[in-house]
């Protein structure tokens, strides 16, 4: 078909070799400590930039608490700006203040109210109630990340979507395939943003009843999407949580760890 054409220089396709990839990982794709020691140990350091992590669990198992905790820790340690997309108005500044109070004394170098103000200004919270609003927000995010102008020196480094399943579950299923295609499109956009702009993306998922044990929502098509899938469950009436790895790019699945969640 194209024999007569002069050879185009790869047509814009970027091939890299193994050493380039390793260099990229070593220089740019670092780990974020999350502040929850149990999860940090389980994940071998924390959330990784460039990866899409899913946190799934039943209601009131500690998912939102974990998300708020991650956001606070990243913001408190000057690691960058956090974009928190909230689908159910569960973002609570008072909970963030309580989480910050629990941070060990050694890390405190400034008065509490100054730190609280700084952390709050590093967390951008947006309410997103449907899939189209999510597409719009991600579009704007991509434009602002592509923008070369330095906007005050603070780039977004963590994107949290709590919870993405409440946006996607209503549209998948049913006769038309458009719902699933939107889900996969969102997944591709998130992974592209994570890789190109060195973000760590965290999404939460709820659980539904299956044949027997409850299973994560969003079905089988979603299983292939995240890099890392974590399941969190809380023992009844206590603040001991168990985190289990459902899927990980580096480790075998099945590992779990029990830890105490503050507050």
């Amino acid at each position: 078909m194209n024999e007569g054409q002069p050879p185009v220089e790869n047509g814009g396709v970027l091939w890299s070799d193994g050493m380039d990839l390793l260099k990229d990982v070593a220089e740019r794709k670092h780990f974020f400590p999350t502040g929850l020691e149990g999860i940090d140990t389980l994940l071998g350091g924390g959330l990784r930039k460039g990866q899409l992590t899913e946190l799934t669990g039943q209601s009131s198992s500690g998912k939102t608490q974990a998300c708020l905790s991650f956001a606070s820790h990243v913001a408190a340690r000057h690691m960058g700006v956090v974009l928190y997309l909230d689908t159910s108005n569960s973002f609570s500044p008072s909970r963030i203040a309580r989480i910050l109070d629990e941070i060990p004394i050694s890390l405190i170098k400034e008065p509490k109210d100054v730190r609280l103000k700084r952390v709050m200004s590093s967390i951008i919270c947006e309410s997103v109630f449907d899939i189209f609003a999510l597409f719009e927000v991600l579009d704007q995010l991509e434009v602002s990340l592509n923008d070369k102008v330095n906007n005050g020196g603070k780039k977004i480094c963590l994107l949290i979507i709590d919870s993405i399943s409440s946006l996607l579950a209503p549209i998948i299923g049913g006769k038309y395939s458009q719902g699933r295609s939107m889900m996969i499109s969102v997944a591709m956009i998130l992974k592209k943003l994570a890789d190109k702009h060195n973000l760590s993306v965290l999404v939460t998922n709820h659980m539904v009843a299956g044949n027997g044990a409850p299973k994560p929502a969003l079905g089988e098509s979603w299983k292939a999407v995240p890099h890392i899938r974590l399941m969190i469950s809380r023992d009844r009436g206590s603040n001991i949580c168990t985190a289990t790895i459902l899927k990980h790019t580096l480790m075998a699945s099945g590992r779990h760890l029990r830890f105490a969640v503050p507050g």
Partner: protein, 346 residues
């Protein structure tokens, strides 16, 4: 006509090549490839297209990485035998979940194993000199091998087709630099864009130019065939099943699914639960793809038998099964995946 070119009927009837010569020529230019288990059961040669199918978490990407490491390791390096193929691998990532650290981990383990068996007494020498020498030897080999691994990421079907079109020029360019040729081509998850491509296009710029999943797949198949003509390589493709009630019936799907169902019904050892699961698997790849694929292996994750523990640590490892569908070998093999590799369970 005979008189013009001096090519008479006698010459036309003369033998070009005997069967023995043909066989030996074909075996030398396209030698059989031995892949790590569980892919070792079927004889594979460059030019074959192997489809590794299985649900999520059944070990497909792990098998690809093992095969890649087998390819990029040299057969022998500075006197140490590694048993690899010593060629380059091109990896097209459609799932965008490839983790280079895992590849690096597996490669380092293989290199250490190779060095360990070559110098079994090296553990006794705790002196820095020999340690440094062995580290730099391993590091140089490691970076050499990693340079033989070529990678590209595609976020949609158009990028995939562009990447496939650039295969030939890229492999030639890299071949000149590296001095070796491409031997494996890997595609991680051929069905990654299935839902995106199947969604009905509400607005089309040019009338009648609807891009469907079928036409995209035919395009992909055409590009792969073109590349295979110019450079015979072994193609390894992973495929995740698609579960969907919204799959509209078309000739291809019905034909494909009935073929698949027939293979399933001949194996009567499936438990009821597996039957339920298999019932919802449908062959969603069009017939153009199915004619391209020459070998098929199916992987599954055994959830019930999670009580297998390895000898070293008491961790519970997940057990997977593999089954060659084409060529149909009628045996299911069990294997487990550790952090650094795959082991067969006898």
């Amino acid at each position: 006509m005979a008189g013009e070119t001096g090519y008479g009927p006698r010459e036309w009837l003369a033998v070009d090549e005997t069967a023995a010569a043909f066989l030996s020529r074909s075996l030398s230019t396209r030698p059989p490839i031995l892949l790590p288990p569980p892919l070792h059961r079927a004889p594979l040669r460059p030019g074959n297209v192997v489809e590794i199918a299985g649900p999520s978490n059944s070990g497909k990407s792990q098998l690809l990485l093992m095969a890649a490491v087998q390819c990029i390791l040299p057969k022998e390096w500075e006197g140490v035998y590694f048993g690899g193929l010593g060629k380059a691998v091109m990896y097209i990532d459609l799932d965008c979940r490839f983790d280079v650290l895992r590849l690096a981990h597996i490669l380092r383990k293989r290199i250490m194993q190779g060095c360990g068996s070559a110098h079994p007494a090296s553990e006794e020498f705790e002196k820095d000199v020999s340690k440094d020498k062995s580290y730099s030897f391993q590091d140089t080999l490691f970076s050499d091998c990693m340079k033989h691994f070529l990678y590209v990421r595609c976020y949609n079907s158009s990028e995939l087709i562009a990447a496939l079109k650039s295969l030939n020029s890229q492999s030639e360019a890299r071949g000149k630099v590296l001095g070796i040729g491409i031997y494996f081509l890997m595609l991680d998850s051929i069905g990654a864009f299935y839902w995106i491509d199947r969604a009905p296009q509400s607005t089309t710029e040019s009338k009648g130019n609807v891009i469907s999943f079928q036409s995209i797949t035919e395009n992909v198949v055409q590009e792969i065939r073109k590349f295979l003509h110019l450079q015979p390589v072994l193609v390894l493709v992973t495929k995740a099943p698609i579960y969907g009630d919204g799959i509209t019936a078309s000739n291809d799907f019905q034909r494909g699914s009935s073929k698949y169902m027939l293979e399933d019904s001949t194996a009567s050892r499936y438990s009821k639960r597996e039957e339920e699961r298999n019932g919802s698997y449908r062959e969603y790849m069009p017939s153009a793809w199915q004619t391209l694929v020459t070998h098929r292996i199916k992987l599954q994750d055994l959830e019930q038998e999670s009580g297998f523990s390895s000898e070293q640590d008491s961790e519970v490892l997940s057990v997977h099964t593999s089954e060659w569908l084409h060529p149909s070998l009628n045996t299911k093999e069990k294997f487990y995946i550790k952090d650094d590799g795959v082991g067969l369970i006898q």
